[in-house]
């Protein structure tokens, strides 16, 4: 295994494009090193992006925030401005593993590892976050929901690398939230994860909403029917019940060691409702 720590995005793309054999990008390494340890992955080349200055930055941009691919989740959690604008995304990012994991893991890494249970992904999908991809043919921008295609698989072409994720600005009276279910209080992989983002009109009626579900299908899903259930309502009891039902209906889960199909379907509805209520509270608070 060869290790490289390029100083620029171009150099990283160059190394990736020319790589013979298996190449992997190292951001926080909290998934990659586990794969190395177990022997499930034996890359010939590992490219550490933490020496690329723009990848390590978290900056305000156009009323939103750009999160570099090498920014650890802990840094995200310590940033009051991001927490204020996108509390749901930050709480999702801060649920990934332990304090120790938070010191290394990045949301872009979480995205590119392409686990269906990645905590930050449904929250970022609900936030309509955009990933910037650099490659041999230049840059492109992709909705975060389009990066993962299946467990462990991404839409990135050879030589491509996600350099940052952009969290957009948002109108007044907006709020978001992410909730997940795990058997313990910490350290587990999500059995179900739900991200909800919504905007209220001045009259308190929901004008726009996005609901995304994790760990209930081969990749994180946007639950459009669930969002529709609350748009145009004040999130009354009936709308929330419809939201929960739609969220459950959107699930296409499997039985595995972390939970059963029926459990995931039921709990997706429960959490969608709770996350919507939390997002609503935040939207009203602004």
């Amino acid at each position: 295994m060869q290790y490289e720590a390029p100083a620029t995005i171009d150099a990283a793309v160059g190394l990736l494009s020319k790589a013979q054999g298996l190449a992997r990008v190292l951001a926080g390494g909290t998934d990659l090193l586990v794969q190395l340890k177990s022997g499930t992955l034996e890359p010939d080349l590992v490219i550490d992006i933490k020496r690329i200055p723009e990848m390590t930055k978290l900056v305000a941009e156009n009323g939103g925030f750009r999160i570099g691919a090498a920014v650890p989740c802990a840094v995200l959690g310590e940033n009051a401005a991001v927490r204020k604008l996108w509390p749901g995304v930050v709480e999702a990012a801060n649920l990934i593993g332990s304090t120790q994991i938070q010191g290394r893991a990045t949301v872009v890494g979480n995205l590119c590892n392409a686990s269906p249970a990645a905590d930050s992904v449904p929250a970022m999908m609900a936030a309509n976050a955009i990933a910037t991809v650099a490659g041999p043919n230049g840059k492109r921008e992709v909705p975060v929901g389009d990066i993962a295609t299946a467990p462990g698989k991404t839409s990135l072409a050879k030589g491509e690398i996600v350099t940052s994720v952009f969290l957009p600005s948002r109108p007044a009276h907006s709020g978001d939230a992410y909730l997940r279910f795990i058997p313990r209080t910490e350290m587990d992989i999500a059995v179900v994860g739900v991200g909800v983002s919504l905007t209220l009109g001045d009259d308190g009626v929901c004008k726009a909403a996005r609901v995304a579900l994790g760990a209930v299908a081969a990749r994180a899903l946007l639950a459009e029917d669930a969002a529709k259930a609350i748009v145009g309502t004040k999130l009354d009891e009936k709308a929330l019940a419809k939201l929960a039902e739609a969220a459950s209906a959107a699930c296409r889960p499997i039985d595995d060691k972390r939970g059963t199909k029926e459990f995931r379907i039921k709990v997706a509805g429960v959490l969608a409702r709770r996350a919507a209520e939390k997002a609503l509270e935040r939207a009203r608070g602004k």
Binding site: P183, M187, V191, T260, E262, F263
Partner: protein, 755 residues
């Protein structure tokens, strides 16, 4: 106050019962303490193990020629490097290195020693094993079916008359009891019968098995290893390798947890065989994945429990059927389930029938009160259901039936002085028992028992020139026992605690000691320490007598000084330990106290636990709100570490109750061999664990000490289950009571109500 049978005096303690800092503490908070994987040796090689990917397979052949040819590989061993045998150690031999068949996923098939970890990894891939995959079985009930895949062609069930003619997966049938259960049930006003299942759990010690072996061509060997019993390791390894016991010296490293899981051998004989073949030291350290797949988890069980009572709650009969699988070899602790798991109550009529069953899982090892928590789960659940039905206070119901001095135990003998009643009363008096519960909350009570053991023990106490003492103990210190030993030595000698330094001696420096198990160390090594101190005191008094020129009997020992026994003995200034030590060379040479014995009469320990939980009815998530452990310690030598045993056992039991389980796929492979998906409790899962130390002195120990390490894991599974059942209004009968299981039960209940 405990009676000291040796002196027939009632005594107060100066030091026992205080909470000094532990002698090994500084090393452990600075990172200096040396654990199993922390040792190195000149020219050391890295040993790695090749394991079966199949749950059950015939090994047609193993070709290691390519691995042996890889540069950097210094030795490859397989079953051919160990002589076959037909004695008691054969199961261990076959477990540490598969012979003919791989009996579970993770079963050792071969091992290599190489100059680096990466070379060793490559070498493993070059070993070609030709497997014929066989049908497998991992479930205890399925393994007992007549057409189940057979693990051993020669396994005939023992304990059955007439002797079966055909082999099966049932290794043993056991039976305990007395009275006439049919008559007992006929007399009952209420009979409750339920079926229970518990999944296998792992001890989950944070330190993986590790050892450093060095065997020379002169046949002499040394082994550094994290183990609960280095004498056991020495004796077993020497036999498996055909070495003289005297030629193998084993040193116990600091041990990073064991809970029973380090009372046998896994990698140690393999490391020694590699070292012998390579002619260099070899270090073998298990990965966490290997620990889960290939060390010794506990049994999974399937049980039926039937209890009859009179209207007032008095038990008339208990009838139980227990099925325990113990992995690929006989030895599931079903007998302890049948004895200890039901031991809390006085049964006029009782029958327990149990089966020890083999399956394609790793060979079970002891886990803290082995076998008892599962049966206790069944007994205490049924007791709770009866108390609910009869509207009896659960503690009153238990008090009515509690085993006490004079009760004929479920397994036969009559109990001496025991403390169950005292723990129940302590629980009832505790503020936790009076807290009002809210919505979706429930309280659970359960009691538990463990026998406690004594065993072979040997200590040596040597007086140094300055009056301090070196105490050599042979039982690895797994949770602070060196502090307790120093306290007891200091108590006897009447000197400051700091003046005694305890170490765990290696196998060549001290006589044989049984494994640190059965909650025996503070009891047995402690009693040996007391006797060794008394032996030293006798010699010290003899020296003082010589100096004073008076008879030995005219000298007494008091608080660190030799004194004339009275005015008639003579008028001499008391002689200090320091003075006696300084003059030792002139008065007859080194002074030491020794004691070797086989400790008996350990005296059982009972406990009662009270837990409050809150269950989220929409997700099935259980939060533990408060937890109380009341347990009999006889006499708490170092109360902080006694509380620590109570708290640690309780939390392991909470994990077993709620989330810990071995999950097998249809392919017979373990699905969750890591701390990510084998979910032991983390700090944020728990409240503080409240404790109440009850002290009913054990007449078998000079200070009244009882072992405390194991009992604390017996009640929690039942206590938590009872609390969850009260919170959700459904009786749960399977562990772990994980969220999907609870939510499913809630859904079924809702469907029943709707239907």
């Amino acid at each position: 106050m405990p009676l000291d049978p040796a002196t027939q005096k009632i005594r107060a303690f100066d030091q026992v019962g205080t909470r000094p800092l532990r002698p090994d503490g500084l090393d452990k908070v600075t990172g200096r303490a040396r654990f199993g994987a922390d040792a190195t040796a000149p020219g050391m090689l890295v040993g790695r193990i090749l394991r079966s990917p199949h749950a059950h397979a015939r090994i047609r052949s193993i070709d290691a020629t390519k691995a042996e040819a890889l540069p950097g590989v210094k030795a490859v061993v397989t079953s051919k490097d160990f002589a076959d045998r037909s004695d008691d150690l054969r199961d261990i031999l076959v477990n540490i290195m598969a012979r003919g068949k791989a009996l579970y996923e993770g079963h050792t098939v071969a091992a290599v020693a190489a100059t680096s970890a990466s070379v060793a990894r490559k070498a493993l891939k070059l070993i070609k094993v030709d497997y014929e995959v066989l049908p497998h079985v991992t479930d205890v009930d399925l393994a007992m079916e007549p057409d189940a895949p057979l693990l051993h062609d020669d396994l005939i069930t023992s304990g059955v008359e007439p002797v079966p003619t055909k082999p099966s997966n049932i290794a043993r049938k056991i039976e305990f009891g007395h009275g006439d259960v049919d008559k007992g049930f006929a007399e009952a006003d209420l009979v409750v019968e339920r079926e229970f299942k518990t999944e296998a759990t792992h001890q989950g010690y944070i330190e993986p098995h590790a050892c450093l072996a060095s065997v020379g061509s002169d046949g002499q060997g040394e082994l550094w290893v994290c183990t609960q019993g280095h004498y056991m390791v020495r004796d077993v390894c020497a036999q498996l390798l055909g070495m003289d016991v005297s030629k193998l010296r084993v040193t116990a490293s600091e041990i990073g947890g064991g809970f029973g899981g380090k009372t046998t051998v896994f990698i140690e004989p393999v490391a020694l065989a590699l070292s012998r073949k390579a002619g260099r030291p070899v270090k073998v350290v298990m990965t966490r994945d290997e620990v889960f797949r290939a060390s010794g988890p506990t049994s999974s069980t399937s049980m039926r429990m039937k209890i009859g009572v009179k209207k007032d709650g008095r038990i008339t009969a208990l009838d139980a059927l227990l099925k325990y699988q113990g992995g690929a070899f006989a030895g599931a602790p079903v007998d302890y389930g049948g004895m200890a798991g039901v031991a809390c109550y006085d049964y006029p009529n009782i029958r327990v029938v149990g089966y020890d069953v083999v399956t394609n899982r790793p060979k079970q090892a002891a886990y803290r009160a082995p076998g008892a928590p599962m049966t206790a789960f069944a007994v205490e659940s049924v007791i709770a259901e009866i108390a609910d039905t009869l509207k009896l206070d659960p503690i009153e119901m238990r008090l009515k039936n509690a085993a006490k001095e004079g009760t004929k135990s479920a397994y036969g003998p009559t109990f001496g002085p025991v403390g169950l009643v005292e723990t129940l009363k302590a629980a009832k008096a505790h503020p936790n028992y009076k807290v009002k519960l809210g919505k979706n909350q429930g309280r659970g009570i359960a009691s538990g028992f463990w026998f406690n053991f004594g065993g072979q023990t040997c200590v040596s106490l040597n007086l140094n020139i300055d009056g301090t003492l070196a105490l050599a103990v042979g039982t690895p210190d797994i949770g602070g026992s060196r502090a307790s030993m120093c306290l007891m030595a200091a108590e006897e000698l009447g000197i400051p605690y700091e003046n005694v330094r305890a170490i765990i001696a290696d196998t060549s420096s001290l006589g044989y000691n049984d494994v640190t198990d059965g909650s025996r160390v503070t009891f047995a090594s402690g009693m040996a320490t007391i006797h060794a101190a008394r032996d030293a005191i006798k010699k010290l008094c003899g020296r003082a007598a010589k100096v004073w020129g008076i008879p030995e009997e005219a000298v007494v020992w008091e608080k660190g000084f030799a004194k004339p026994s009275g005015a008639n003995a003579g008028n001499f200034e008391p002689m200090s330990l320091k003075e006696l030590a300084a003059n030792a060379a002139k008065t007859g040479g080194p002074i030491a106290g020794h004691y070797e014995y086989n400790a008996e009469n350990a005296g059982p320990s009972f406990a009662t636990h009270v837990v409050d939980v809150e269950v989220d009815p929409e997700t099935g998530f259980t939060k533990v709100l408060r937890y109380l452990v009341c347990q009999d310690a006889g006499k708490a030598v170092h109360p902080s570490y006694v509380e620590g045993q109570f708290q640690g056992g309780a939390v392991q039991g909470i994990g077993w109750a709620l989330n810990e389980e071995y999950i097998y796929g249809a392919d017979g492979r373990l699905q969750n061999a890591g701390f990510l998906d084998y979910r032991i409790p983390v700090a944020s899962d728990l409240p503080m664990i409240d404790t109440a130390i009850v002290e009913v002195p054990n007449p078998g120990h000079p200070y009244g000490v009882r072992g405390v390490g194991e009992t604390s894991i017996v009640p929690p599974m039942a206590a938590v289950s009872n609390a969850v059942s009260h919170a959700v209004g459904i009786r749960l009968t399977e562990s772990p009571m994980s969220p999907p299981r609870i939510l499913k039960a809630l859904g079924e209940q809702a469907a029943r109500k709707a239907g």
